[in-house]
């Protein structure tokens, strides 16, 4: 059996059982820096081997998906879920953005099965990180104080936030250096990747379990949303994948990206840009429900969906 979800479970159960196991804060930061950089580098390296013009139309449509998802999620949360505008917008933004670790688990799913995928998929991960967050913020301000948006701060938060710099910067470095330039970095950034991912999932398990008490206050609606929304997004992602000519593996990864909700970049950006929103709600949905749902149940499910679409 694959070890990766087991590490998440170990952390989750340890915390539920009130173990004093903790991942030191700076180790957590070190692990995220490593994962973001490594994924960016990998994507950039593969991009260096592509014809950029061929990838461009795909890239544009993927970004459109990132805009579409929060626009779908917002009315559901606002009207159906009766959340206030700020919370609805913030949560919609989290689901428009993506989770780097869910993506990595998806890649691992394909690698373990020996299935191919477009090696430049991390480019799409980078492209999907931002639009969802930006749309979420705009939705929050649509009401009255639209002019009160501090565009400068907003752009800064989105383009220069830690995760964007590491992912995007890694992508650029990988692109410029190319496979040869990165070869001596292979042992550090690529060979160790999966082991580091396991440690990070242990920590995610601890964190998710620590947020479980918040489930009680977040209500049934949000719990349902956090399971159904990813499936809807995955359908869109898989369909788009087929449309733009990705391989089945690539379509599964795009579905996984669409289904995933951000719990690193989005919370940081939203706390500044929409302070009125309760961060507990979005984090519970994205991290406590959607994240484990995706890595334990979602990815195999999306694989089926892709299988149906691709008729395999």
């Amino acid at each position: 059996m694959d070890a990766i979800p087991l590490f998440f479970l170990l952390g989750f159960l340890a915390r539920l059982a009130r173990s004093d196991l903790k991942i030191p804060a700076q180790l957590y930061e070190a692990l995220s820096i490593y994962l973001l950089l490594a994924i960016g580098l990998k994507g950039g390296m593969e991009l260096a081997q592509q014809d950029a013009l061929r990838v461009l139309p795909q890239a544009v449509s993927v970004m459109a998906l990132g805009v579409l998802i929060p626009l779908l999620a917002f009315p559901v949360l606002f009207k159906l879920g009766r959340l206030d505008r700020f919370n609805a917008a913030s949560i919609a933004g989290h689901y428009g953005s993506v989770s780097v670790v869910t993506f990595a688990v998806g890649v691992n799913f394909l690698v373990a099965r020996g299935q191919d995928y477009e090696a430049y998929m991390p480019l799409f991960l980078v492209l999907l990180e931002m639009p969802g967050i930006a749309v979420g913020i705009l939705l929050a301000r649509l009401g009255g104080d639209f002019r009160s948006i501090r565009w400068g701060t907003l752009a800064h938060e989105i383009f220069l936030g830690k995760s964007m710099v590491l992912l995007g910067g890694g992508l650029l470095v990988g692109w410029i250096a190319g496979p040869q330039g990165l070869e001596p970095l292979d042992p550090f950034f690529f060979t160790l990747f999966k082991g580091v991912l396991c440690l990070f999932l242990l920590e995610m398990g601890l964190v998710a379990a620590s947020q479980v008490p918040a489930l009680r206050t977040s209500g049934l609606f949000l719990a349902l949303f956090a399971v159904i929304m990813p499936v809807v997004s995955a359908l869109l992602g898989a369909a788009l994948g087929a449309l733009i000519g990705l391989s089945a593996g690539g379509a599964l990864l795009l579905a996984t990206l669409a289904a995933s909700a951000s719990y690193i970049a989005a919370p940081a950006a939203m706390r500044i840009a929409i302070p009125e929103a309760n961060p507990g709600l979005s984090i519970t949905a994205a991290l406590v429900i959607t994240f484990p749902f995706n890595i334990l149940i979602g990815i195999p499910l999306y694989d089926r969906i892709v299988g149906l679409i691709y008729g395999s």
């Binding site: 804060a25 957590y28 995220s32 601890l206 008490p213 690193i264 302070p275 961060p279």
Partner: protein, 105 residues
């Protein structure tokens, strides 16, 4: 305190997300410096154990004169109390080199 001069110490415990913004506010309002550290804790917003990004807290302390102290507390109350986990207190302390902490505004 024979060799010290009275001064205010303002202490703010809040979410790490607003560290930079708060520091800028404090300097703008007349403080000449501040000292920040990473903390964890619990309050009306529940536990903040500081083990991952969104859950980190800081404690900032500012030595300043009474006017600046009032300006900081008033601003912080207005700008952050509603939406952020935050606690603030003010103490009377004694400093050497009192000029270092007076706002020449």
């Amino acid at each position: 305190m024979p060799n010290t001069h009275p001064c205010k110490l303002v202490v703010i415990v809040t979410e790490a997300a607003i560290e930079d913004e708060l520091a800028a506010d404090v300097m703008r309002l007349g403080a000449h410096g501040y000292t920040t550290m990473d903390v964890r804790g619990q309050g009306s917003h529940g536990p903040r154990s500081g083990l991952w990004g969104a859950d980190r807290s800081i404690r900032m302390e500012i030595l300043c004169d009474a006017t600046t102290s009032l300006a900081i507390t008033t601003h912080v109350e207005k700008a952050y109390f509603k939406n952020f986990a935050m606690v603030l207190f003010v103490a009377d302390v004694g400093v050497l080199r009192p000029d270092k902490f007076v706002h020449h505004g």
